[in-house]
Symmetry: C2
Subunit: 230 residues, 2 copies
């Protein structure tokens, strides 16, 4: 017999180890997808998020979890990939310096490669365009354009089932994301959102990502399980 | 004074070390761009092409040459990234097994990241849709969709000059590419196109890439400088 191990539809799920992507993984699992979680060691300042990603992938029952390494510090251009640029701890206007050029495009491209290899016509990603930092590659029109490109890029787009990019939290507030995760049993204590978390995964409590996360728990009426440095 | 070192327009140029991308680099230089060459060590069988890329970047006067490493053998799916799949030496129908899932999308995404960091609104790439192997991500409609997506993905697409993806040889025959490169002084003896070149860069003479290259030199009436294994 050469029947597949599982008859569930397959999905590659981008998993940073933060709150949003953990929720997305839980949603994809709840929707009945066999999930292949994908994380990136790209030279980010907050590399401890990768430990969180591994914990989350296991806890939520991903079929597999891969970490792909590449080094964006070779050109920097962001507070997250250039150690000489400080992470802002006060609100800024415009696109903040924590924006990493083309990061989501690189992430989705690698997800597309794995998805095509797996025969998985689904990619889940945790972009959010409500309580977010104004990054251009988190907007719905960007995701739609990526999907259109991806269908032209691949063998699957010609011969098989064209890929769908699922962004189930893109229009949700941070509070609604937290509520949905709690409903699905996500243990947010496992997750790390902070841009400058320490080696133990403790959050600074002051960066943009910490602020959005803390406000989300407060608005959801959920106790914040985040471990802060101070 | 904080004037830039150079006032030339900047471009990131994808450089594999093969015939096509060497020609594209020469064309971009001839068009007056300050060129930043980008190559990838992605686990390809023919890693010797990277030595060729370094030689070509230097010979043609690229301002900088970077090689980014990531490991596509983690999922394979192609004769170029899975050592257990042989490179075909006879013509096949459909998209061949040397197709690497989403490879050009990954390459262009990383080029986009460097381009945005440099403030370079131009990316040059050597896709060809005439004498090619039928890869979906070499078609003009794919390139147009990538450019559309890239403009939505980046800060530059919102605040600056939107990126242009230049594919100057996409509609050229291999013979015309060879003639253009010879006119511009490209030394094709430096380049490696073979999918299974040996460690010294000598070509097998039998794979699809060797066949297209050899036919190109013949049709152009240019002596083939390729070093073959036998």
């Amino acid at each position: 017999m050469s029947s597949p191990v599982s008859s569930l539809p397959r999905a590659v799920v981008l998993l940073s180890g933060g709150l949003d992507s953990a929720t997305v993984l839980a949603m994809a699992q709840a929707q009945g997808f066999e999930c292949f979680a994908l994380s990136f060691d790209y030279g980010q300042r907050h590399k401890t998020e990768l430990d969180a990603a591994s914990r989350v992938a296991q806890a939520l029952g991903a079929r597999e979890h891969k970490i792909i390494r590449f080094d964006l510090t070779q050109w920097g251009g962001s507070a997250l990939t250039d150690a000489s640029i400080a992470v802002p701890t006060a609100p800024t206007t415009g696109i903040p310096i924590t924006y990493v050029p083309a990061r989501n495009t690189i992430f989705l491209s690698l997800a597309l490669a794995w998805a095509e290899t797996l025969g998985a016509p689904n990619i889940f990603a945790g972009m959010n365009a409500v309580d977010y930092s104004g990054y251009p590659d988190c907007r719905p029109e960007y995701v739609a354009a990526f999907q259109q490109m991806a269908r032209l890029a691949t063998r699957a787009g010609i011969e098989g089932e064209p890929v769908t990019i699922h962004t189930p939290i893109i229009h949700m507030s941070k509070a609604d994301i937290v509520r949905e995760g709690v409903r699905l049993g996500v243990d947010y204590a496992m997750t790390v959102s902070c841009y400058q978390a320490d080696a133990d995964g403790r959050a600074c409590g002051r960066c943009d990502s910490c602020r959005l996360r803390r406000e989300g728990f407060a608005a959801a009426g959920v106790a914040d399980p985040t471990r802060y440095v101070s």
